[in-house]
Point group: C2
């Protein structure tokens, strides 16, 4: 693992919108090439749930484990070198064991739950954990208020983890809603990062648009701040060659009647999107049917640390290019 | 480990009053020689506390682990083959790590806390766990209401675990009180066992009289039921040769101005006591200064499974002998 190199990127700060495993990989890359003051990672909490009395924040933990180097490289979620004694005994006790809780991971959930009950906000808990684990970049939950992703399926309306983990994304999805989102406030750190003088770009990580990014966009204050942006918003497509790299994105898109393609992702983000980064595998398809926004292709499948860093640099470069073009337009148009 | 042998003991059922490690060993012995319907183990919950948002019942867990064969034979508390990943991560997160929570042990605490929050009583949780772990004998908390042992010391008034674990029983004790005891009700199973038609004896296990047995005696309804007993109550002395086999019993007795001796233990239990079982090491001292109640000596230090079973048989025999003597007295006196 090479040390971070913060010297070779255009100036300015960035906000990354992020879900779990795939998004966390790009967030890791961004953290290697941007110094701590220049990156805020805003994480989906629609997957959060209460299980056995514990508050579990799967995407936040995945991002924290990935950034701190504690992640299990095999799975992308959970901790490397994890032990599973708790789960074995939990099963012996006849308690629900469909959600895997590693012994080390459990410390995160117990500490978080205890601190939340004592009155800390999720942002405060998150900042504390990051500080303890040596993460210098800002990792902020999208909101300190509860937002719960609900999946309407052919087997009924299911809470996200019930759908995703317990039923292994099996039921066919007809609608996805975000309970609490309409009254949720963006976490303080989110609005501060988006209002930063030095903001140079907003990056939507290659996370599931429907399950991991839409919860953020469903928060009115967060969507409004994104709509009022003066900097480019660039998304990295989680769809590569008509399939999802991981998880049920493509399946869900088909069930929602949308072709699993880069074009569909771009259309989904609509007017929020200023540029799209897709995989080389989609280059020909994108040439045949160009998107409405500037599009770049590169190797977007991150299998190594180097891949993460290169994709991070690439996306930052795209933001920079869009910003320069917008600037040139303004000068050419004689705007004030 | 030999199988239980329930054939060779006088008839009738028994109630054992029990604290942690030492008491649990005798409870185990009793469970080997009495069939399930003939034994109720009433366990101290004055040591219970809330830690990191989890409800922890140290004595109940020690009894359950001991009876189910899951106990760590080295320590007497906790589980054999335990792992400690949770504690390592908890320390990394800067959370309090003075109370050791094994990964497997934690499943007990998480499940118990979750069930209590959902409205189950401690008795119900305890019965459920016993059923899952194959414990057929009744293990009941002394009360489903909160009772908290508080220790007044030269370093201030301390919650029990703060005194016992965090400060390793270091501060000098001046008084021990049981918060909540005066309004606590005995758990339903306690009164039922003490009211059983077939009751043949009450056994006070070799637990700390001040810290482990007094909490039970501080519950008015439990003390009243013991005072109204029609069967012998026999205690096994936790003091052997002027010292405690384990833990701070002797130290606390000295701090409270009481000589650490079998006689002091007998005096402490006062009119509740019908007979005392002490160790052979105290035979001469007890001959020199006999107690006010019938006294037997035997090998009372339980280092093997055989020791536990032999002591259990011995104590049951003492109860039987007292009952026969009382019966003979009644007949001799011509009582109705």
């Amino acid at each position: 693992m090479s040390g971070p190199d913060h010297t070779d990127t255009p100036s300015g700060s960035y906000v990354a919108l992020c879900g779990g495993v795939g998004g966390a990989k790009l967030a890791y890359g961004l953290a290697q090439v941007l110094s701590p003051g220049r990156l805020t990672i805003v994480v989906n909490t629609g997957d959060d749930f209460e299980h056995l009395g514990l508050h579990i924040s799967p995407d936040i933990d995945t991002v924290i484990y990935t950034l701190s180097g504690l992640a299990n490289p095999e799975t992308g979620w959970g901790r490397a070198g994890e032990t599973w004694t708790f789960m074995r005994v939990l099963s012996d006790l006849g308690e629900p064991d469909w959600f895997q809780l590693g012994d080390g991971d459990l410390a995160m959930h117990v500490a978080r739950t205890h601190r939340l009950r004592a009155g800390e906000s999720l942002s405060e808990v998150c900042a504390h954990v990051c500080q303890r684990l040596g993460i210098d970049h800002a990792v902020v939950p999208m909101s300190d208020d509860p937002v719960r992703t609900m999946v309407s399926t052919d087997e009924g309306r299911l809470a996200f983890q019930d759908y995703f983990v317990r039923r292994k994304s099996g039921p066919a999805v007809s609608e996805i809603t975000f309970e609490g989102a309409h009254v949720a406030q963006p976490a303080p750190g989110v609005l501060a990062a988006l209002a930063h003088d030095d903001l140079a770009g907003i990056i939507v990580c290659p996370s599931n648009p429907y399950l991991s990014v839409d919860p953020l966009l469903a928060i009115p204050g967060l969507r409004a701040a994104l709509e009022a942006r003066r900097v480019p918003l660039v998304a990295v497509s989680p769809i590569v060659g008509g399939a999802a790299i991981k998880g049920p994105t493509a399946k869900i898109m088909r069930e929602l009647g949308v072709a699993p393609s880069v074009g569909s992702v771009a259309e989904h983000y609509g007017a929020l999107l200023d540029g799209m980064v897709a995989d080389d595998a989609d280059a020909q398809a994108l040439k045949d049917a160009p998107l409405a926004v500037p599009t770049w292709t590169t190797g977007s499948v991150m299998t190594s640390e180097r891949d993460r860093i290169e994709l991070a640099r690439f996306v930052i470069g795209c933001c920079h290019q869009l910003a320069r073009a917008a600037n040139a337009d303004r000068h050419a148009g004689g705007a004030v």
